[in-house]
Symmetry: C3
Subunit: 352 residues, 3 copies
């Protein structure tokens, strides 16, 4: 599996206004300026990284027309009005070549309910089960063994990989990609303790997933107790993540693997949550905040803050405390010494 594009092909994809230098390398990867190696495409998307261009090992670099500098021998710069847009365009081409769209149609083994909307452009793979009242958008690809519950809605150009389950009434926006084994719309975990037993509180809300969301393998998103659990446009969720009922995740967030977000917590836009972090319920993590891996969040997090630890503290403070924590054996010895010295001192003084 792989791809290989010439610099000329890349120039064509991004509609480059000018090419500086030349390379015979075939492009078979994409990486940031500092991580790229020979055979990679990179790009100067943010002027802040301007100084990284000269040292980048990428074979082809997308730069804005005003970038001053020339490539090394065997390296090529492509001028493009927006390198970022250009990069996205190339990535889309790569995806397309790696995962060619299968032919539209429905496998004979799919089980389809009543009052279902499936356009001719959709591809319904083997073993899929589609319950009554489901509506599927144009060019949707249900790869295999996908389950869509009663009344679920799948927007245009979604790709649901094998074993994905979208339960009743849940909705996906456009271009959503669900990795294998994702569960959308399992019941929220809600009980009232009644007469010595946990009586189930019916979970009657849904899950609403925005456009351009991607969710990782075997992650689970529970339906709301009321109303909806939601994930905003452009957010990306990694594998084995748990999102509880009535959580609201904003736009363009990153949620790394094995994170757990408890009920009714709100994550605003552009938040980043590191792997295995856990968030208590009924909190708000404000816009642009960053939560380190394994962090335990039990109160609101301010916009732009970076927190770490369990329970979490500001990142720098937590780091400082972790250093001091290692010196606890020494600190105890120092206090022992002070106590014994102080005793001596008192004794000396008394005896003086």
């Amino acid at each position: 599996m792989g791809f290989a594009f010439s610099a000329a092909q890349i120039a064509d994809f991004v509609q480059a206004s000018r090419m500086r230098g030349a390379t015979t390398d075939m492009i078979s990867g994409v990486a940031s300026l500092t991580r790229a190696t020979s055979g990679d495409l990179s790009f100067l998307g943010n002027p802040r990284y301007r100084s990284d261009v000269a040292n980048s090992q990428a074979s082809v670099i997308l730069v804005p027309p005003d970038y001053v500098g020339n490539p090394r021998t065997g390296q090529c710069y492509l001028e493009v009005s927006s390198p970022s847009v250009g990069l996205a365009e190339v990535c889309a081409r790569i995806e397309h070549s790696l995962w060619p769209r299968p032919k539209a149609g429905m496998h004979r083994s799919a089980a389809i309910g009543e009052n279902v909307v499936i356009p001719e452009s959709a591809m319904i793979g083997p073993g899929c089960v589609i319950e009554d009242g489901v509506r599927i958008g144009e060019r949707v690809y249900l790869q295999a063994q996908v389950f869509l519950g009663r009344g679920a809605v799948v927007g245009d150009d979604c790709w649901l990989m094998p074993g994905v389950i979208v339960a009743a009434e849940c909705t996906l926006g456009e271009r959503v990609r669900l990795q294998p084994g994702v569960v959308i719309g399992s019941d929220g975990f809600g009980y009232e303790f009644v007469d010595g037993r946990h009586a189930k509180v019916p979970q009657i809300g849904t899950v609403v997933i925005g456009n351009d969301v991607e969710i990782g393998a075997n992650s689970t998103i529970d339906r709301a107790r009321f109303n909806k659990t939601s994930v905003g446009d452009g957010s990306k969720i990694d594998n084995l993540v748990q999102i509880a009922h009535n959580v609201e995740i904003g736009r363009h967030c990153i949620v790394c693997a094995q994170v757990g977000i408890s009920g009714s917590t709100t994550i605003e836009d552009f938040v980043i949550v590191g792997g295995q972090a856990g968030l208590a319920g009924h909190l708000t993590v404000h816009r642009g905040a960053k939560i380190d891996g394994q962090t335990g969040v039990n109160s609101d997090v301010a916009a732009g803050a970076f927190v770490k630890g369990s329970p979490c503290l500001p990142y720098q403070l937590e780091q400082r405390i972790n250093v001091l924590r290692q010196k606890l054996p020494e600190l105890f010895r120092r206090v022992d010494a002070l106590e014994s010295q102080f005793g001596d001192s008192v004794q000396e003084k008394t005896s003086a």
Copy 2:
């Protein structure tokens, strides 16, 4: 998706002996007294919460006949001998209206082994696979793509959602609800290190799930090395929980998302385990204990105890230590100051 019942309908469901006040609100939700809003049903299940009734925003509240007080305008109290039992009755009605039982029968795509017991009242959905010797109870609902291994037993009125896997010889009690992707009966994780390799120790036990158990999406429960791994009646397990071989979970426990319980650990009745907590193996968590989220448990927990931290301590102590931990930078400065002052003191004294 939703429901709407009038106060009169609720009164009928719970066989209310008397109605105080009146409301035209349709009931479309259930909540505790303090969290309820207009349109909600609530209840006074425990006299301890008596004072919360007067301020509750619920449209309808179930109260015992001896409750003194009258509803606000547009609010209704229903007298019922056991408000808790009444609530459970209403919840069952709501569930029934939300998730009407599908027609009994078997989808043509189901693959059924030999010597299988499937009553006529059962509903076997598309893509289900039932191996030899499986026994299924009355009104069991295998929604879709469910797998039941050789000799598995499923009690009456169970609902197994799409993609659920119950491996060979495992048994479910009655009214068990398994959310999508649950795996019951995967092999326990057991090896002996022999000649530089991990030789698999055969896992020959089973899993036994009690009545009224609910297990969340993509959770996994391993079969025992010998004998059985078990979950007691009425216990509720959230998503992505791992329960290792030979774990015994008692009755009416709550195990939140992403908890991991290591092999041969016993959880007695009425225990609550917070999200992402981890329990080492061969421990006992005694009756009614509570384990906070992200806690690491590496020794027995006493009945009724509340523990927190990794490794865990009594909750209050852990909280106290977490406060002091934040003062470590200050403590180090204080000890620095003492040392330098003491030095001065000695110096002064010496020079005196």
Copy 3:
């Protein structure tokens, strides 16, 4: 479910050169010397445990010919040149009796693509989906509802349990056992932040699993960004583990449940990772290192080291600090006392 072998049968399996003592117990379990009880087989695999033989409650014990000592009444020692090899042989027999190989063949409901290689000895269960170009080895057992993506390769004697997903181009060695719900080859989690959105970096590598690997239920292993994510021969991975793109796991490692390993981290041979541990990306855990449960690893771990805590420290130091941490309330009081005493001292001295 179970098995029962007589001592004579065991002697035959291991080709024992001599039998000391005798037992009428039927062997129905396998356990280490100290944990074994009546009805168990045990073994002296490592001379270090020689002293455990005499007190072992096992009914049958495999010992090397030079072991000095005699069994208790009703107990039997079997002499065998390598007790470890003997044990592995017995375990294989037990497995075979517990999980008899199903008859070769393909269920009518399996959906098979083009250019697929499936030998006659393979067993393809109901609901399996095999995409184009897949190659399956001899005696492979796809139990049910398994998905094999385009170009995937499955080595001889693999057993893929229900609901397993192996995505395009991924390869499994021989004798690999995948528990239910395992996902191999989901996309790595890689994005570049471009113009306020996360643009997907195509994940064009694969996953390569070695021989004799076992992976637990609902675990996920992402395909590489480039090249491959890999798991070496003989490594065993528990349930709900997340292995990110370009991780390399060596041979004969143990990775316990709910561990998360971030991208491009290398785990060398014979490493043990405890449950719920999290490893940051781009690290190396060197040969034979041991990582305790819930540990957070954010830097390289030396060969043979044992680390604990988050962020992790050497095990003994972390244990020491955890003890001192509990004494923080006392330490603060001691420093308070020193400060007030010191004040007194100064005062006394001054007033003297």
